[in-house]
Symmetry: C2
Subunit: 362 residues, 2 copies
């Protein structure tokens, strides 16, 4: 199992390098107007900061597993990483995050006004790359992939709106089902569902031989099932991500440990705690979390963290994530069995990656 | 001439209604999650506020003038208006504008965080509409139009970066050539060049009979010339827009008169003034303009305005705009002559609209 994880990490790192290369060659570098050169420099900042490249590799693996070539998926994979980068610029402003991947968030370096525009410029580059993709995969498939991106963006902005409106309205009465809708939209689509669907669409357009030609309607069925698999996996991924914010090793993590409590982020742990704490503690917690970030002290944050441990909120979230991850893998195995997907390197690695996404420790 | 203007206004208003209809039917209305319904409501806010619909009508007219049908251009025209709407949401935040089309700017109503995301969601809808456009005009032409949008967005964000960096760095040593590069990028492309190019691309894809079949390479030549025409026209349009900010009738204008001076916007008038004022006045003006918006008083704004009048800065800008508008119209006439474009309703109206854009009084 540990060996599997090492293999996955190595693959992520190899793919990430190739994707980064593509992105950094694609993004413009200099302009005769110094202001615009500065824009280019800021657009290259987040893409140069590392990150795991999960989404890009997921797309490539699903493509390969269904018989497509890595090269076919590379531009799409790079566009997924660009999506992640531009939307993080805006998210960091919206969520008031100070740090990103071990360095100050873009708006902390250049101000909110400039950074909104950098995000838009990078967003535009994502579409540009996807449009150029037409030269590689043909206009019909390019339009299909563009359409997946458009849908992914709709879901993500809707999820972000849910979360932001809770913050802005100081709403702490979040039911688990509200939380799951938010996480599905804000994370599951762009982290799991869309990359997988894109990979399969690309493989299908290559008319690869993995699925026998006489099997009719397989693509639609597979794409539908990927929503269900990706949903379980995406929720599980996000919960583990939030758990790591509380418990990870700071040197590996790149963001501030307990930062989510400072930001008052609605996590499954917090919702569990607010449901189970007694009235006095609940009031105290809500009162504290409602404060502005710079009015929150470390003692208050520690108090919330201790209460989570006391009520088993972290264990509850971990167990929830474990169950959903297991359910996702079961569906994955059934999909492979139903379509007789051969036990290729790609299939084995995809499964390991899906597992890794919900068992990683940073 | 006044009759021409009335006709143009009537056409703008008719087209605007049709475009608005398309947009408001396309944008989602309600969702079972109240937070998302609220998002939809905010996304519909700017598109419901009116505006002239210049860019959409320009695209339609150029399409018709080259023999295309209005229906072919309608989705593209609507997407141009969506572009205008989402980018204004972000611009209003970045420029610190309080009012938009006679009502508070979106971030004044809902806060910066929520509004950035609303802009992104509306931005996504623009691409969604352009991707759906493929069903109407075919994937190849859809990709061409998408590519024009991507280019337009690159130009616009680069122009915005130039202007923002002057503000953030409190830079008042702007040369006219810097200003023209900024305006070309920030305004001329999305207001004039791109809508015209898209109209011609759409008409060309319809294989319309306006240009004889045996004329080879006309499309590339026309698209190139539209950059030059749109550049002259766009600069002229923006200068007049800025002049109107100083001199328009407030009841018609929808924004705050002299608002640009409060915002410290670098306009041709201001650059002219800073070049021609004596050292003492220049220092006083720069000092005043460098203040934060809420520290600027009406007297100071009036002082800058009076100095502009004293140095003939407004007349200088008007004359500059007039010359460039004239040059654009000359190029337009030559284009029509070179390609023997028939004196159709569309051709006459396009010319009137180009003229109107730089002679309007609000």
């Amino acid at each position: 199992l540990e060996e599997d994880e090492e293999k996955v990490k190595a693959l992520l790192s190899t793919n990430k390098k190739e994707i980064d290369n593509l992105i950094l060659n694609f993004l413009p570098q200099t302009h005769r107007a110094p202001e615009i050169s500065k824009l280019y420099e800021m657009m290259r900042d987040y893409p140069s900061r590392g990150g795991k490249g999960l989404r890009g590799t997921l797309c490539i693996l699903w493509c390969e597993m269904f018989g497509g070539r890595m090269d076919t998926a590379l531009i799409t994979a790079a566009s997924l990483e660009l999506f992640q980068n531009w939307i993080l610029i805006h998210d960091d402003i919206e969520d008031g995050s100070d740090m990103r991947r071990g360095a100050p968030a873009l708006h902390k370096k250049h101000g909110v006004e400039i950074s909104i525009n950098v995000g838009d410029a990078l967003h535009g580059k994502m579409w540009e790359l996807l449009i150029k993709n037409g030269d590689l995969i043909g206009p019909e498939t390019a339009i299909k992939i563009l359409s997946e991106f458009s849908n992914m963006l709709n879901e993500t902005t809707e999820g972000q709106q849910m979360e932001l409106s809770w913050t802005v309205n100081n709403n702490w009465d979040i039911r688990e089902e509200d939380y799951f809708l938010m996480v599905t939209k804000k994370s599951a689509w762009y982290t799991c569902i869309s990359p997988a669907r894109m990979g399969v669409i690309l493989a299908s357009a290559e008319r690869s031989p993995v699925i026998p030609r006489d099997v009719v309607g397989w693509e639609k069925d597979v794409l539908d099932r990927l929503i269900s698999i990706g949903l379980d996996l995406g929720i599980s991924f996000q919960i583990i991500d939030d758990v790591l914010n509380l418990t990870a090793d700071e040197s590996k993590y790149g963001k501030e440990i307990l930062g989510d409590i400072y930001e008052g982020k609605r996590t499954l742990m917090l919702i569990h705690l607010l449901e189970h704490a007694d009235q006095t503690s609940r009031s105290k917690i809500v009162n504290f979390l409602s404060k502005k970030r710079d009015e929150k002290n470390d003692e208050g944050v520690q108090f919330v963290f201790e209460k989570m441990k006391e009520h088993g909120s972290i264990e509850y979230a971990r167990e929830f994530a474990r169950k959903h991850s297991e359910r996702a893998l079961k569906q994955f195995d059934k999909l492979c069995a139903d379509y007789k997907i051969k036990e290729s390197e790609a299939r084995v690695t995809t499964r390991s990656l899906l597992k890794y996404m919900t068992t990683r420790d940073y």
